[in-house]
Symmetry: C2
Subunit: 205 residues, 2 copies
């Protein structure tokens, strides 16, 4: 009952776009309102603060985009190494796509915002820790499966996942800093090398 609105979602999308392109600190509530065509009165009708909106926006991004994508990439229908290889290739393709759309290599929103906001805005820091942890579990599980299947040498999956994610996120960050996707060109090969496997050749289209 009552009036219906997509204002809440427009705000979350605008906030995410702006914060990802610039940074949390560089974006004001007015910026978000302008981009989403929502008036400030409505902003405060939906959210308590910028931090509150950011937390909601990031959880929204996770549940509507990241999680479904991760579930597809890490589908048990693929072999463990295929899952990982797919993940790395998607990461590269995504950045190329973003560069074309926005002119910028944006890297990983969770990581960028996480680094910026660990200690300020406790709820936001907590959310980032949560989401980064979720992502790691996908890698960890695939590595565990790969070891069990004898596809890679035995190792501590938790430790290896941490490392693997560090490399992927580290490369994404460097690509963002340099605004250059070339850095990521052989992310798949390098990441697969880290776990002691070869990247799966894909035919050039």
């Amino acid at each position: 009952m009552g009036r219906v609105s997509d204002g809440r979602e427009r705000l979350m999308n605008a906030a995410l776009d702006l914060i990802w392109e610039e940074s949390y600190g560089a974006v004001t509530i007015d910026d978000i309102c302008n981009r989403s065509k929502v008036k400030k009165g409505s902003f405060y009708y939906f959210f308590e603060s910028k931090a509150d909106l950011a937390v909601a926006a990031l959880e929204h991004l996770w549940s509507t985009h990241t999680k479904p994508l991760m579930d597809e990439i890490f589908s048990p229908l693929l072999s463990p190494l295929e899952r990982l290889d797919k993940a790395f290739k998607r990461a590269y393709d995504r950045q190329v796509e973003l560069k074309q759309e926005t002119g910028k290599v944006l890297g990983c929103p969770y990581f960028c915002i996480g680094c910026e906001m660990t200690d300020q805005e406790p709820r936001l820091g907590e959310k980032m820790r949560e989401i980064v942890g979720r992502k790691r579990r996908y890698y960890e599980s695939a590595i565990r499966d790969a070891v069990a299947a004898g596809e890679i040498a035995p190792c501590d999956p938790a430790e290896k996942a941490l490392c693997l994610m560090a490399m992927v996120e580290g490369l994404l960050s460097q690509a963002r800093i340099l605004n250059d996707t070339a850095v990521l060109k052989n992310l798949p090969a390098m990441a697969m090398g880290l776990i002691g496997a070869k990247s799966i050749a894909t035919p050039t289209v």
Copy 2:
């Protein structure tokens, strides 16, 4: 002739501390003035803007701390693998030290600020690219030497250095996000593993 002052340096140090602990966007000129006990009038006597100060502060950090430290760590008197191992161990020790001093795992200032500021404040972004590039050259050179000395398998040193740095910086970032040095516990072992070598055992004191 005229009056002498350490105001400029006090400003740079305060700015660096604050920005590293929080973030560039979260720190105001007033904050920096308070911390450094320099009045705003003097701030604008020394610097044009916050970005201007940040650029100076980061270059200052590089030339007074980072470069000397890197030169010592990557001294040609050590074998290439010893240099790298030393670099990784120092990185870990430093974060433990910072955690004790500030209660926070701060990660790498160049990388954190770099991610936040790539596209805003062009001069600052440029400076970060510059410094990150300098750091990479130390790794690259050590890897090249290690290959030449037959200490590790042949590889593309530039690519390997990028990767290695990605892993180190990626782990540092995760440590910052989680505010936990445990993530870095076996950074040396993992990083040495990446280049196909073993970390050098050090006696526990």
